[in-house]
């Protein structure tokens, strides 16, 4: 295990304990900027850790999460890189410094720890949570169909054996409920970006209805800007739009719920890659993926800062 976050190998995938240790090291090294909040426990009792980057009290917040689908390893690895990037750039990069002088950033790197552990030890292709389903031999719920936004509608499954099983009720999964409780108790989250892989898309609400979001024009323009920034680094091809028009109808999704809670700048990412490795993106692509994604995240966070609501 590396002794500090400078020794940490960002160009490789890591197990759960190593990433938990990374978080603790980052907090220890930058205690004036970073703290760790435990917002709940997973079904199997693992802590749901959120890194809070803050330079003052009572600030509005910006949320980032990675790895809600456990097999999408490039997202957790990117989350680690983002955390290090934030502490490295604060005080050096004027744009990020300005953001952090006015907003807190919350980063949940391992959003589905039971699933992640399961992908590391038992089944690399596991996507869902690990809570058993009474009456079924199939385990787990798709945590991106478990939110109270069109819950139970088209684009989610009622079968526990399906990869898109919605669960018995909205927010039934502790991994989801923890974020719901956190967002509600915070009360002042201004942007929310949930990161997945792999289709190279940046999506905004809605997924459960064809009714356009009331801020669709602004969300679309900001998506265009964010993707232009992303593509400026390696020219990775991305598409963007609302979930339902760009990819498919999906009910009970994360950002539909956050948008309906009043978080205007709600987006979900699908990172690299298109049609070569899928969920098994080679580790040498972690840093390029994170680097390009960071440019888009900065565009969204800067826009959020510059357009208070």
């Amino acid at each position: 295990i590396p002794r500090n976050t400078d020794d940490f190998v960002y160009t490789n995938y890591h197990n759960l304990n190593t990433i938990y240790s990374f978080m603790d090291m980052l907090v220890a090294e930058h205690s004036d900027l970073v703290s760790k909040i435990v917002i709940g426990q997973s079904y199997e009792g693992r802590p749901l850790n959120v890194l809070r980057f803050s330079t003052g009290a009572n600030r509005p917040g910006m949320w980032l999460d990675t790895g809600i689908h456990s097999r999408e390893w490039v997202t957790q690895a990117s989350g680690v890189w983002f955390a290090k990037k934030i502490v490295t750039d604060y005080g050096r990069d004027p744009a990020l410094t300005d953001i952090l002088n006015n907003y807190d950033i919350y980063l949940e790197i391992i959003t589905n720890p039971d699933g992640y552990q399961y992908t590391q030890t038992k089944d690399r292709m596991w996507r869902k949570t690990r809570k058993p389903n009474p009456g079924s031999s199939c385990v787990g719920v798709d945590p991106n169909r478990n939110w109270d936004a069109g819950f139970g509608g088209a684009g989610s499954s009622s079968s526990p054996c399906s990869e898109t099983y919605r669960g018995p009720s909205a927010h039934s999964e502790p991994e989801v409920k923890a974020i719901v409780d956190f967002v509600k108790s915070h009360g002042n989250i201004k942007s929310f970006v949930s990161i997945h892989s792999y289709s190279q898309m940046l999506l905004y609400p809605y997924g459960y209805t064809r009714t356009p979001a009331k801020d669709q024009a602004e969300l679309h323009e900001l998506a265009r800007k964010a993707i232009t920034e992303l593509q400026s680094l390696y020219n990775t091809r991305y598409t963007y739009g609302s979930i339902i028009t760009t990819i498919y109808q999906a009910s009970g999704g994360t950002i539909d719920w956050t948008y309906d809670q009043g978080i205007k700048y709600s987006y979900t990412f699908e990172l690299r890659d298109t049609g070569r490795y899928g969920f098994i993106l080679p580790a040498n692509q972690i840093v390029p993926t994170a680097e390009e994604t960071w440019l888009a995240l900065m565009a969204i966070m800067e826009h959020t800062k510059n357009n208070p609501y």
């Binding site: 690399r124 498919y248 049609g275 098994i280």
Partner: protein
């Protein structure tokens, strides 16, 4: 531990709505053990599906019979996972 020897990931391109419908029917065949990484939704989006070795012959025959285009995106999933493990171990050491 679940292993994936001989599993392939196929990238399928549907050319019309009828083929999308056929692929949706295929995805409901639970006994084949298919894992759709990208689901059949519309013609403009690719479809990626992990096919267990035991189902490869049936799935390839289904695609050929229905004139549905595809290519092999990952020849052997376990080979890639083994390489991933090697890299993680090497880094840890």
């Amino acid at each position: 531990k679940e292993t994936f020897e001989g599993h392939q990931v196929l990238r399928i391109t549907a050319n019309n709505e009828a083929q999308i419908t056929l692929l949706k029917e295929l995805s409901e065949q639970g006994h084949l053990g298919l894992d759709f990484w990208m689901e059949p939704i519309r013609e403009s989006l690719p479809i990626d599906v992990r096919v267990p070795f035991n189902s490869l012959q049936a799935v390839r025959a289904f695609l050929a019979y229905n004139h549905i285009e595809y290519l092999v995106m990952i020849e052997d999933v376990q080979n890639l996972l083994d390489e991933e493990q090697r890299q993680m171990l090497k880094s840890h050491v």
